[in-house]
Subunit: 401 residues, 2 copies
């Protein structure tokens, strides 16, 4: 096999595609995925959260009643039901169905990527939280854009800092971000939630500075305490918000289904550029699943199970972590963000942690800035056996002390 | 709902995204999809070609033996089996497994789109057959590239014309295409197949003029007569060919699974830019389906059924069409391309045809050039009941005479 640098066809690739060929960054993923240790690294739903019995019922119903249509281009009525289900979920969140339209996607990352295709050109600016979901950072990097990182505090995105940064950009004649990407509820990785007041102020800034907002609602359905805050998409009067959601956490990642809600012309433009047809079979099955009420019925026990997992992880942190460590206390979602003494480098300590029997994601993965996050880490309470949390955190505490 | 032109956020869209907002071109699709007429328009597999019994068996096996893994990020062993199955298919076609690597995609159009993302920037040139698959034309247009159309004769892409065009571009100092997109077997829409000699000459031109080739093999498994010609990807010594295939025609469109085979660094670059995870559930099911031999077992009866459909359509054309009409005689695939008297405009006649009880796709859909193809049309023998072909073609003949 030729080396990539030598391969003559590589020279025909775009600059962004060539950048990916240096291939850095995948080593630690592999180490984590194959480690024989308690996994607090990845945001996987716990396997028993998948309702195989209900999914089997939906598959059987779809195959028996319209199998040949569900397998054909375009699908049949069950595939259409999925679009209705998603619309109804948006309406229940307060998003005006007369001012928005829905686009089903192959998961949330596909949705974010599709939004980027419609908006971004190399050299554009995208504003993100600092830290933010590494999967979205990867998407933005692929478009050759400048990434402007904005601080997060206990109440999510620091909107004051955003305002300062926008005014500074305007004063300096620097480009204003075209898109702001924010995870408003139980942010990945910090678990923080933006207040209603913060959301309203953010939308006012979007109007004043003329940018669009991508609101990632991957965890919105998984609130364990506190009052629901209306999504940006429900507070938005100007059609600036594109809200992205997914069934990965509430049904299963493997069905690979997400969606976005946006003003209709924006949805249409995104749709026109998002090449490729739909997995009508999966859409039909999940269309039946939602229509039969299985999703709604599964949410209360899911929330209960995840809340108990969160509590056990927080208890373990309280019990074992060194005094210099601080961590967040999320009202929902999958993650706790831990900050350690400045001297601790969580990339360097990962191998020791694996040896001690626990995995985490190093904080540096969640920043565009290559020098940031080295004394932080993300813990996920979504996947591992909660009975293992206490020993795992005890082990972690010895490694990062 | 605001009009797209008025929507303030529309101004933030890329030029390519804004172009899609004029929304032309979808009217005739809707008319065709809802018409109460014999459908010779779309390249849909006939519904009884889907092996529901075998698919049900694969679904049951996957759910019973590793359901929770098949629904998780990454999938389990059955998902891995799909990659092996696709690799084995490539090897059986003569593609060197030591010089290539596979990437699974959400269908063939997603694969073509992913290749474009890695190679194309606005202003680049893509060479295509004239006429060619409208779905791929749409993908190329979305990248803001110049489309160079090359003639097709009875033996597929006219490689002499390609050579002339490349030399002319070089002489004029015009940019050389970065990609050439070709459907080598039973081309969509003409049904023609490029000879081995043509393939070898095409590859020599790719080397001489330094471009990459996207070989679309959507119909390769559906040959009804004549000798198999090795794919470009098997004849390629320079790693210039990216071969795209799909299970849409041999298993079902609704499983939305395709793949590409390319030199490893090219595959890696395409993979890094193709955002979003995999539908591991569908991959697992089709992984089992292929591993159990269901795909291989289904191909001979599929070929037999499609060959009989082709023969009945050709018989009907012979029986009814006006003397001025000519049509192709494909060795495989789904399509016959009909050329009519210069005075006939197939866009204009479509409504009359629907009224008379038959649908087709107007030739103009298959050209980038808006003035081309008006006296041609594509007929698909893949979907409608073959017992209806004779009446349908009799009706068509009266409309286009």
């Amino acid at each position: 096999m030729r080396d990539s640098a030598e391969h003559p066809v590589s020279e025909l690739l775009t600059p962004e595609a060539r950048t990916t060929l240096d291939g850095s960054g995948y080593g630690s993923w592999r180490r984590l995925a194959t480690a024989d240790a308690v996994s607090l690294a990845f945001g996987f739903p716990y396997p028993d959260s998948f309702r195989l019995d209900r999914l089997r019922e939906s598959i059987e119903t779809v195959l028996a009643s319209e199998g040949r249509q569900a397998l054909q281009y375009g699908g049949g009525e069950y595939a259409d039901l999925l679009e209705s289900a998603v619309r109804n979920r948006a309406t229940a969140r307060g998003i005006d169905p007369d001012e928005t339209a829905v686009l089903l996607t192959n998961g949330a990352t596909h949705a974010v990527d599709s939004v980027c295709r419609a908006f971004l050109e190399p050299g554009d600016v995208v504003a993100v939280e600092r830290p933010t979901f590494m999967g979205s950072l990867t998407v933005f990097r692929n478009f050759g854009v400048e990434i402007e990182e904005l601080p997060v505090d206990d109440a999510g995105l620091d909107v004051d800092a955003l305002a300062d940064r926008l005014h500074a950009r305007r004063a300096a004649g620097d480009p204003i971000p075209k898109l702001l990407y924010t995870i408003t509820d139980f942010q990945n990785p910090t678990g923080t939630t933006l207040s209603r007041k913060g959301r309203e102020r953010l939308l006012a800034l979007a109007d004043e500075f003329d940018f669009a907002v991508v609101e990632d609602g991957a965890y919105t359905d998984l609130r364990y305490e506190g009052e629901t805050v209306p999504p940006l998409a429900a507070l938005d009067d100007a059609g600036r918000v594109i809200r992205v959601e997914s069934f990965a956490k509430t049904i299963a990642p493997g069905v690979r289904l997400g969606w976005l809600v946006a003003a209709e012309p924006i949805r249409d433009a995104i749709d026109a550029l998002a090449a490729g047809g739909a997995n009508t079979f999966t859409r039909s099955v999940i269309g039946h699943y939602c229509d039969a009420g299985h999703l709604e019925a599964s949410l209360p026990p899911l929330r209960e199970a995840y809340a108990a997992r969160r509590d056990r992880l927080l208890d373990a942190l309280e019990r074992h972590m060194p005094a210099s460590a601080t961590w967040t206390d999320p009202d929902g979602g999958f993650f706790v963000w831990v900050e350690l003494d400045e001297s601790v480098d969580t990339d360097d300590r990962l191998d020791d942690a694996i040896d001690a029997g626990v995995t985490y994601l190093p904080g540096s993965m969640f920043y565009a800035d290559p020098d940031a996050g080295s004394n932080a880490l993300r813990l996920s309470f979504s996947y591992a056996d909660p009975d293992a949390f206490d020993d795992a955190i005890a082990a972690l505490a010895t490694v990062v002390d």
